[in-house]
């Protein structure tokens, strides 16, 4: 207990020193029991600052160091590394946060100085009790899972696989490809979406390191970084895909009919179907909800015509378990359902469609073979109104955020419409046109040059009047009310996370923001990681983004996975909550409160007596302290934050 503790107080420029009277702090701290040396520095985190700490540790033969500076989330690891380099166990270095918790929030200089002293005294008390700790080693399964088979998921899977690691790619739909497969042409270069995507889809399918599980969903996840066990539910396709060769005979005579999801309700698909001709894998599935065989048992035409006898009406859902070391979440987006936007008449008004429907209309493989025809009567619309921010940037009724891609795809829609209907009017209602991106502003300019009319203002109402769809809006540049009689209206719906991602987040225990997008670990510096070690993010499931951004983020996530896999073992931070087996009464309270599933109740021989005690999975423990507070017999103490330690810290903090 007779530790020699060194205290270093950082000025942080004027951030701390401008408020806290550093000389006074040093004078007081110097007299504390155990404090062998005190120093201050303008910037402790700088090289000279760190060197000063190292030198001090050596010259004063310090047993522990307290750095009074900014929040530990910023520089705890910096200073721990510094003391480690001179032979001190890094867990004997503690941070006293006198910036965020003191100088930034306490304007009065005397008050702030007193407060800084209290904060430092608390950490000195803590350091007095700190024990040297060693990192916990964890083995790594060098195999990844990617959830979501859109362009982001495909890219992440390919990058990881090309680095030589196995990948399991899980997709909920029968085919990979995601929304990008539905698009006609992509901004700002107008290259055909499917033409650039399908080679990647095929590459993923044929890659020897990629195991493709389509028509499948993640049912359960257990384990921790490097060692996940994922249970995948495989939905029954009612077709043996190993036997089927994708000839498509079964599709021909099937009598079942339903609106095609891929064409967003603008064409019919059959009960046995593949989402689109280029589907990967090129295998059909049977939709039991509309299949005559499942409803009445009176049809088996697909089974009759299948030359390979691959139809299996008795197929059941099955589960496979995959062991992986990292999981990439690439669940993508869905368009915001505007059914509550009754002023837009969505769902009630014919020829009011969403952006993805218009993509299908424009697509050569779409319901109109690429000819612009409106859904109600197949007429060529001579005037089309495009409404941006349909649900985006609408704090009251919709989503407060900007969906980011709509300005660009609306410019593209309007342009492509003009390319195909030369005498047609394309009118865009917008709040702002946001063209941040390479070649984006030029693309928007091109749209206006090609005759697309931009009206700055919001649309208040859309309704059907006879053959026309009437749009009410405002031109906020002239301050006038605008009424347009259009033949068709295309809405740029806000982007939202997929509904399935909510369920997945529950299974993964992954954090999401208020809108349901997966949360990155840090908005700027850790944009592809999550707060749960081993989960990485790619694509629009993390937030609205366009194709290049989704692909870039996917490669970033892949790179993080590859980096993780470059280690044979991982180390886990050793401050965890352990268990005092003698004291433990086996009540199990801590099992219920642990948010990480790190604790389980087991029967065990403790000093020759069988008893129920807690077993701690040290790798899962994040040292949150929930168990320590809940334990009635103080058996779940956190390392370097023991009850006695906390007691002393409280006393030191309140003293004087």
């Amino acid at each position: 207990m007779n530790k020699r503790i060194g205290v270093v107080v950082c000025h942080c420029g004027i951030n701390i020193a401008g408020v806290v009277k550093i000389p006074e702090v040093l004078e007081t701290i110097k007299t504390l029991p155990g404090v062998a040396a005190v120093r201050d520095h303008m910037y402790c985190c700088s090289d000279p600052g760190q060197n000063m700490i190292k030198d001090l540790t050596k010259s004063e033969k310090l047993d522990a160091v307290v750095v009074a500076c900014c929040s530990p989330t910023l520089h705890e690891s910096t200073f721990r590394k510094a003391v480690k380099s001179v032979g001190l166990n890094p867990y004997l270095c503690e941070i006293a946060n006198i910036r965020e918790q003191c100088s930034w929030v306490t304007p009065d200089r005397d008050e702030a100085t007193k407060k800084a002293i209290r904060i430092i005294r608390t950490q000195v008390a803590r350091a007095r009790w700190d024990q040297p700790l060693e990192p916990i080693d964890v083995p790594v399964t060098r195999r990844a899972m990617v959830v979501g088979g859109g362009v982001a998921g495909i890219q992440a899977a390919l990058d990881i696989a090309n680095a030589g690691y196995e990948v399991v790619l899980v997709e909920k739909d029968p085919s990979i490809g995601g929304h990008m497969a539905q698009l006609s042409e992509t901004f700002p270069t107008l290259d055909c979406s499917q033409c650039i995507l399908t080679p990647k889809m095929v590459e993923a399918y044929q890659h020897p390191k990629i195991k493709l599980l389509t028509y499948s969903e993640v049912a359960d996840v257990s384990g921790y970084v490097g060692n996940f066990k994922v249970k995948v539910r495989r939905k029954p396709a009612y077709i043996d895909w190993d036997v089927c060769n994708g000839c498509g005979q079964c599709l021909v005579k099937c009598p079942g009919r339903k609106e095609s999801e891929f064409d967003r309700g603008m064409s019919k698909r059959k009960a046995v179907y593949r989402p689109f001709p280029q589907a990967v894998p090129n295998r059909p599935v049977i939709d039991a909800s509309i299949c005559v065989h499942f409803k009445t048992g009176r049809c088996s035409i697909c089974a009759d015509v299948c030359p390979l006898k691959a139809i299996r009406y008795d197929q059941k859902e099955s589960f496979v378990e995959e062991s992986v070391g990292a999981i990439v979440i690439a669940t993508g987006f869905e368009l915001y359902d505007l059914k509550d936007y009754s002023s837009f008449g969505v769902g009630k008004t014919q020829d009011v469609i969403d952006g993805l429907q218009f993509e299908r209309i424009l697509s050569a493989s779409g319901p109109t073979s690429g000819e612009v025809k409106r859904p109600s009567d197949g007429k060529v619309p001579k005037r089309v109104v495009f409404v941006q921010c349909a649900g985006s940037r609408d704090v009251e009724n919709g989503k407060p955020y900007c969906s980011k891609i709509c300005c660009m795809y609306t410019a593209k829609h309007a342009m492509l419409y003009k390319h195909r209907v030369h005498d047609g009017d394309a009118i865009v209602f917008y709040i702002d046109v946001r063209t941040g991106g390479k070649g984006f502003e030029e693309f928007y300019k091109r749209a206006t040059d090609e005759g697309v009319l931009y009206v700055r203002g919001k649309v208040s109402k859309i309704y059907r009047q006879g053959d026309k769809v009437v749009v009410w809006g405002a031109d906020t540049l002239t301050g006038q009310k605008v009424q347009v009689e259009a033949d068709m209206v295309v809405l740029a719906n806000a982007m939202t996370p997929t509904p399935e991602s909510a369920e997945l987040a529950g299974v993964l225990k992954a954090q999401r923001d208020e809108h349901g997008f997966f949360n990155e670990a840090h908005p700027k510096l850790r944009p592809v990681e999550t707060l749960t070690a081993g989960y990485f993010l790619a694509g629009a499931g993390q937030g609205p983004k366009d194709i290049p951004e989704a692909v870039a983020q996917a490669s970033g996530a892949a790179c993080k996975v590859i980096g993780l896999f470059s280690n044979k073992t991982l180390s886990h931070d050793p401050p965890i909550a352990g268990i005092d087996e003698d004291a433990c009464s086996g009540c199990g309270v801590c099992v219920d409160v642990c948010p990480y599933g790190a604790r389980e109740l087991v029967e065990k021989d403790v000093k020759g007596k069988m008893k129920k005690v807690i077993k701690v999975n040290e790798v899962l423990c994040e040292c949150c302290g929930a168990c320590s507070s809940a334990c009635p017999v103080a058996a779940c103490e956190q390392r370097n934050l023991k009850d006695e330690q906390i007691q002393e810290m409280v006393e030191a903090g309140l003293e004087g």
């Binding site: 002023s343 009251e396 109402k461 059907r464 006879g466």
Partner: protein, 294 residues
Amino acid sequence: MREFTYYPGCALFTKAKNLDQCARMSAEILDVRLKEMTTWNCCGAIFSTVSDDLASQVGPIRNLARASSQGDSLVTLCAACYNVLKRSQAWITKPGNETTRDRFLNFIEEEKFDPNLKVLHLLEVMKNDIGFEAVKTKVKKNLKGLKLGSYYGCLMVRPEAEMQFDSVDNPMMMDDLMAALGAQPVYFPFKTECCGGYLLVNDQEASLKCAATIINSLNAAGAEAVVTTCPLCQYNVDNQQKILSERVAGFKKLPVFYFTQLLALGLGIEGDVLNLDGHYVDPKPLLKAKGLLS
């Protein structure tokens, strides 16, 4: 029988007597008594949004203060009264307005002001306290086959944050009541657009345009009549059809009802109280054709 403190408002004692009387009689059938406030004055007719226009708040606040000692809620019928009273309540109970409130109470010489007093529209009482299912069981004359466009006007729903009545774009409360009476609600896209009533004196043409949009849309949607809660809407939409029918060849007129007229009719109330002769567009032929009037 449940009692609600009731604020009729001026129009319901003059032009819109049938809106008031049909409501009172129907409520009795539905086991609710609308107990008129002991003393009341004009609601102010328009909620003033001028920041220093305290004088125009005196009227509604005095009504609210008086209602405070007569019950925990205040039911009203006229869309304008509902709008003004509810917004005044929201304004004066807003945190930070306590001093202003005390000054008001001092000025109008009222002691009590209940900040939790609920300003309700009769439609809300019908939906939440009586229940449309209960209304169904009391129907004597089913309005079956009557295609009705429920026109709420601008005052019932806006501004949304303060009114909290129903969807701003597609409110359904009146539609649901009409459906409970057996009628067939018709959707049309102008349920909450302004009828132009406030422009009637200044700019008749503008007002006419508003009314025409509503009537034309209802005709296109196949409605046979309009239902409203607002005396001004009723008057304007009904009477503007006179000019419209003079100007537009083949213009199809639609009778404009108060919802309480049809409620009363459905509950079996007959006679002068309905005041079916007080309309510009005579509703009797339609009601006769549907077998609702002999």
